[in-house]
Symmetry: C2
């Protein structure tokens, strides 16, 4: 057994995304105790930065000590009780995972399905509310990582409020890349991941809960299925009021990394960061279209940070990805579920949303497709470079 020295990659898949050297360097700072006063200061700092990032005043805002899927489960396990009905609007893989979460919390999921590659149909959700009896929550994905689609979170959260239901919103891929306005939306439980537009390594899941959601947790009549994710216990660990009580041991060095990523985000500024994501997205799409490739998602429903590109007929898509990885050290994502073999997923998240990544990706794709005798219309790199100006 020998020390592991990873290859240098450019991460333009669905996440993890490229991590800035300042963030990896932060991971390597000396470990301190998770109850150390200095660590408690760090926790407060992270909570404050996450509130600004989520655009919320929610007191209960912190990173779950596990990846995004545990953040998702934190929301469902705490808000859904046996017998509850939850409307899940599904337009990709993560809607199905939500359904599974509802079921395992003892609830019943009413599914509102939309074509993969399209935004959630707000009217269809409104009809589902009208047809259903009492609904505990509406759950949906703001930024579907499996399809590259952005849905209208403000409209959906408002609809939930109108019907007296909570909203549970997956912002794993949106947070830090496009606006996530928790308080303006009136969202109740929102989760994300460290490894997407925040460009920290995977392993942490920022979450935020509205006072309404907190009340729903407090009003539970059954214990939460999970001890590890039980908010009534985790809250006491993350609370700044009068000393913390031991619950689990936080992943100390991973928190250093998230903290540094948040510092960098604030140095750049939120607006500048959103602008950069939009700019790089336009350049990438200009290049892809110049190459003759088509996007899956209509322009007004596209995510800037996760681009689904249709694979031309006759292309061996796995061979293309293998060539990108071996010849360019470049990772892009395959399609999932019904989109497997039909799309590539190209991430432009956080640090990875850069000019050099856009140009590398286009050049590498041109090369890989040319090797499969796919005719290209014109130079993608030139088109992208024009869009970058």
């Amino acid at each position: 057994m020998q020390s592991f020295n990873p290859p240098i990659r450019t991460l333009m898949g669905p996440g993890p995304s490229d991590v800035h050297p300042r963030v990896t360097a932060a991971l390597a700072r000396p470990t301190i105790g998770h109850l150390d006063p200095a660590f408690q200061d760090l926790m407060e700092d992270i909570k404050g930065a996450l509130r600004r990032l989520f655009q919320t005043d929610n007191a209960l805002t912190f990173p779950v000590s596990a990846p995004g899927s545990a953040g998702m489960e934190t929301c469902f396990a705490n808000l859904v009780e046996p017998g509850d009905t939850v409307i899940v609007a599904r337009n990709g893989v993560f809607g199905s995972r939500m359904e599974e979460n509802v079921r395992r919390a003892g609830g019943t999921a009413i599914m509102v399905d939309q074509d993969w590659g399209r935004a959630i149909d707000v009217d269809a959700v409104a009809k589902a509310f009208e047809a259903a009896g009492t609904v505990k929550a509406l759950a949906f994905v703001h930024a579907e990582t499996s399809t590259g689609v952005r849905s209208d979170a403000a409209a959906l959260c408002a609809l939930a409020r109108e019907h007296g239901a909570l909203s549970i919103v997956d912002c794993v891929t949106s947070l830090g890349g496009i606006p996530v306005e928790v308080d303006a939306w009136g969202a109740d439980a929102v989760y994300s991941g460290s490894q997407k537009c925040l460009s920290a390594p995977p392993g942490l899941s920022p979450v935020t809960f509205s006072p309404r959601a907190e009340k729903a947790v407090e009003a539970r009549t059954t214990p939460v299925n999970s001890w590890f994710l039980d908010l009534s216990l985790v809250m006491a660990y993350w609370s700044g009021d009068g000393g913390r009580s031991y619950h689990h041991t936080a992943p100390v060095n991973a928190m250093y990394g998230l903290h540094e990523a948040l510092v960098m985000f604030e140095e750049d500024g939120m607006e500048a960061c959103f602008k950069r994501h939009a700019h790089m997205h336009r350049a990438l799409v200009a290049g892809l279209e110049a190459m003759g490739l088509d996007m899956l998602v209509p322009a007004n429903e596209r995510l800037l940070q996760l681009n689904t590109v249709q694979i031309p007929d006759g292309v061996d898509e796995a061979a293309v990805r293998a060539h990108l990885l071996s010849a360019y050290g470049l990772e892009i994502g395959a399609g999932l579920g019904p989109l497997a073999g039909k799309v590539w997923r190209i991430g432009l998240m956080g640090t990875a949303a850069s000019q050099k990544n856009v140009l590398l990706c286009l050049t590498a794709l041109e090369d890989a497709l040319a090797r499969q005798q796919v005719r290209l219309d014109r130079g993608a790199g030139v088109a992208a470079a024009e869009a970058l100006l």
Copy 2:
């Protein structure tokens, strides 16, 4: 908001323990994708090393992507179904957490209580088995971090087998410090943590499941409460057979750290590592006793790596710990539950089980106690130095 530069500490509490600079440096290596072929090699490497460390051939051996309490929950959530009875032998905080885990999985816990500070009474557990009907599992803590006690895992696992029950064993604080012999014991589900005797940062929880435990998971008639911790899904992610299926995103850089810690453990050698823990323990105890302090636990039931020292009457124990932290950068642990205010917990785990730490701790304690006018019998440092020779 500014970059966080942690103070330099010496970590001799109940964990996290001191992390070697080679391990923190490994954390800072460039992030790669969690489905990258190179990362899959790393996963295989980690699985192999964990099997050697657990002394098992169990195929299902991997680190859960979350702290030790999630490893505990992985065992209980997967093995306990509604209606199951589990005997929990409790001699500290973590027995109570096990009880809570059984309850949340829908099971009933029969508690067999032992005084805090003493090993589990095997005869009492045998009597509980005889009094109970069908028992699904026996759960106990091999190395109680809250009391510094080692229980007889071999005898307890054998007892479970005799009664046709599975065994669930908490080895959070034992793994890497004292022998954990999963196959020789006949243990069925064992969990640990990265931040104790492995001296990696907190955030990962090595687990191993026997074929018997795997069968029990396969034979479930109800779904596991937790999607994130459902072994039937996690297995497919960690399995090397014919490609992995996406479940969650592993904490890539944290895995680098665990891997490097395992490389270092193998370079040192298991036997040498256990010897070092024993040696440092003898030196620490010699020093503490020379100082006139008493250990909580009888000598033959003591953990080498977590030493509970009784606090003399009239000592302001919080002031002692505060002085150690501020004047020496030294962290030791407070007592938990009924032992709060009665003991200190001094860890000698992994990298922290070193001559320099033993001598620093004794000197610092002597100083802190002298400031509170506690009469000391003789020089603890000299006694420890003699024991170190």
